[in-house]
């Protein structure tokens, strides 16, 4: 399955159905990430229920603590 993440094409061997699954595959903590799917913000409470389709364009910004 192909997704565009932060402007780069990424191939995934397994089928990814939701944002939650994608973040798991990317090993990103879902509480510490800002996600946009095809230009629309997806808030963290909607990660599980938001579907991801072949060729979708995602912007994923993950954060670690400190300031």
């Amino acid at each position: 399955m192909m997704l565009i993440i932060n402007g780069e094409k990424r191939e995934f061997k397994q089928k990814i159905k939701s944002i939650s699954q994608l973040l798991k595959a990317l090993k990103v903590k879902s509480d510490f990430v800002a996600v946009e799917l095809n230009g629309r913000v997806v808030f963290r409470e909607d990660f599980k229920s938001t579907e991801v389709k072949e060729g979708d364009n995602l912007e994923i910004v993950s954060f670690v603590g400190g300031g």
């Binding site: 509480d31 800002a34 946009e36 808030f43 912007e59 400190g66 300031g67």
Partner: protein
């Protein structure tokens, strides 16, 4: 004839006039002179049309001269004007935000909208721009007090609240917002809220600034034309890693410099 300015006032003078001759006529008891941001240039330099001369006795503000002209004498005038016309938001006034804010005030940003719900703690002083006698005060109020001592040329609007997607519109007037939180969940939430509610704003966020890692590893990642992230992306606060003024300060200076460049249109 050419037109030059001296301490904010315009003069018409002969072309080929040197700075030395010009000052001996109009401001003979100067001991420091700055021409077009250059300190103490060659006094045989021939003035050109539009040159900006600032001259003063060391350690004093001459009568009838605006502090503004003197304070920003080392920055190109058109840059100062652009910065004065800009509004920047700062979310969080800790190790990043208090430094980003001070840098932007010194650079001459005209208006800041700052937000922080917290008070100054003793453990903040190792890296945050507060003083011991400010412990226990709201950071927003302490920050405003400190900035007033630095410059009267930045208006500061402060909010003592937790920012969420329901109130992120306090940044409506800002061109750029600096994300300066400590907590990673709050960082992600803020960026999402801005992208959702204020999609035309630029966010300069931060991630990976903890610890004593190399200064060279603090870099800017451009996620899109609206999202930049400063840091190494991975150094987080954990056991025996900590936060230190030098590295957090580097990240804050990179954040604030990027903001200045964005305002000036230098960042493409």
């Amino acid at each position: 004839m050419i037109k030059v300015s001296l301490n904010g006032n315009d003069y018409r003078v002969d072309s080929h006039l040197t700075i030395g001759r010009f000052l001996s006529e109009y401001y003979p008891d100067f001991d420091l002179v700055i021409v077009n941001t250059v300190l103490n240039p060659d006094l045989n330099y021939e003035l050109k049309n539009g040159d900006r001369v600032v001259a003063f006795k060391k350690g004093s503000i001459p009568d009838g001269v605006s502090l503004k002209d003197l304070m920003f004498a080392r920055q190109p005038e058109d840059f100062t004007d652009k910065l004065q016309g800009s509004t920047v938001g700062i979310a969080g006034l800790g190790g990043l935000g208090s430094v980003v804010g001070e840098n932007l005030v010194r650079a001459g940003v005209g208006r800041l909208v700052v937000v922080d719900f917290d008070i100054v703690e003793p453990s903040n002083i190792n890296r945050q721009r507060y003083f011991i006698n400010q412990i226990g005060r709201y950071k927003v109020n302490a920050f405003k007090e400190n900035m007033k001592k630095i410059s009267p040329f930045t208006e500061i609007e402060g909010y003592i609240i937790k920012v969420s997607r329901n109130n992120v519109d306090i940044f409506e007037e800002c061109q750029i917002i600096a994300e300066c939180f400590d907590d990673p969940s709050s960082k992600a939430e803020l960026v999402s809220a801005i992208r959702d509610r204020l999609p035309d704003k630029i966010v300069v966020a931060s991630s990976g600034i903890a610890g004593f890692g190399s200064e060279k590893s603090v870099v800017v990642r451009r996620i899109s034309d609206k999202i930049y992230v400063v840091g190494d992306g991975e150094s987080e606060v954990k056991d025996r890693i900590g936060l230190v003024a030098t590295r957090v300060g580097i990240a804050a200076s990179i954040q604030s410099h990027l903001i200045v460049r964005l305002i000036l249109g230098l960042e493409k």
